[in-house]
Symmetry: C2
Subunit: 305 residues, 2 copies
Amino acid sequence: MSLVVIGTVAFDAIETPFGKTDKIVGGAATYACLAAAYFYDKVKIVAVAGDDFPQSEIKNFNDHHVDTEGLQIKKGEKSFFWSGKYHNDMNSRDTLATELNVLADFDPIIPENYQDCEFLMLGNLTPKIQQTVIGRFKTRPKLVVMDTMNFWMDIALNDLLETIKMVDVLTVNDAEARQLSGEYSLVKAARKILAMGPKYLIIKKGEHGALLFNEDKIFAAPALPLADVFDPTGAGDTFAGGFIGYMAKVGTVSFNNMKNAIIFGSALASFCVEKFGTEKIRNLTQQEIAARVQEFVSLSKFEIE
Amino acid sequence: MSLVVIGTVAFDAIETPFGKTDKIVGGAATYACLAAAYFYDKVKIVAVAGDDFPQSEIKNFNDHHVDTEGLQIKKGEKSFFWSGKYHNDMNSRDTLATELNVLADFDPIIPENYQDCEFLMLGNLTPKIQQTVIGRFKTRPKLVVMDTMNFWMDIALNDLLETIKMVDVLTVNDAEARQLSGEYSLVKAARKILAMGPKYLIIKKGEHGALLFNEDKIFAAPALPLADVFDPTGAGDTFAGGFIGYMAKVGTVSFNNMKNAIIFGSALASFCVEKFGTEKIRNLTQQEIAARVQEFVSLSKFEIE
């Protein structure tokens, strides 16, 4: 039994109103694995990097009990690089540079020892690659969660729709849900997206929390109101990693378990934005996470008889 | 003991993507009184109208047990008129016409029989008038709730700041909280606004729910995700009316009671937007309201040990 995460590992250069970084380690799979590993001890990564990717980062994965057998290191090649600058509201950003490098011809390898995968997280990547990965498991995992973004809706919609059909849970933000469905109302958007295949849809609304849809049921999770959002990079990936890590921990797929998974994922995402990159989510204690989750409980709890 | 609501009564002509109305009865006090009256049977209105205001509307107030002694009818004058058109996203609108008419020299009269007021709702109006009303009560009401809008921040900021200082609860939307405080983060905005005087701040976020701030405590209420928002006019006033109506019913001012008041106010607001104007909130049953409140409970409930 294991949880496999596929996605990017990357170098990011980030500029926010609070400062800027040189190239630091990022990527959807990095954030998701680190987050998932707080809840589940059999997390396995599938990704590709160049030989510029530091050994210390691989050691950091292993220190968090993340299996890196599926992390391909391409000799003489460079890792994926992204650079972006956030606007003052922290809700929008400009991409300054995207260098695909090793990602351009990424062929994901699933090691034999990953075939026990029960929980599969498809981090944001080309839909074709996400689809390939599902097909490379001899037994379909019990729960397949897929993250994607507007970029693929713009340039690879058919591939995206084919891939969406194959997954159990889709996570998108509110703008993406509207784009994908052509509906402004998120309730109508959710109905249309659920009709595309996934049994569950999570709509991420940033500072406004998240909505979980399944059949006619809806759960609204709050976001923790924060005085400072230092760097939003990776918050969505951290959320997804925390979500599926919690699901792997409890083991049973149900709407109620997913509600809690969303709260745990949101709690980890709320840590993520407090520092640049992965800095904050590298060294959390279970006590810190439990305390943060309790903040979500008291934030949203009310008693009406 | 009573609940007094001051605000506009008006004619509105509304255009939404779903249709348009002729002049229909609206105004902050109209929505707030109708909403409050579902929870509390001693609601009293302070407002002004022209003699074009239909007798049937006054009868409708009375049928809902709203005392109209403080509703001045100005012979030979016309009621306040507003006309607006909502954009396709229903979150923004253009004002097509504003005719102040009787509102231009509104001098609110507080009938002697209103002096038992314990709960005072200051609907959106000139801050000077809101301030005058507070001063006309011989005993300061136990809870003073004030609604306002960006318009007064633009043209009467000093008056607004003076009035805010005198109230217990301020309700604004997120853009207004940012404008009033000069802070983008709603947590920082809330700190600054609470420092201006009010003990409680409610930030209304439309489809994203509402936040209640008091000292270091925060409560996040969800909004009910709706397939169709037919007409948002009056939703904020209905929310405020439901909020203070529930507070008057329970009688005790506390953070926990305010949490529930926000849920009841949000439930009424969710009805309001389902039809044009006040149509939907004129004829609700207690059973319908209770069922809607239970939707909010199941929407946001999760169990983490």
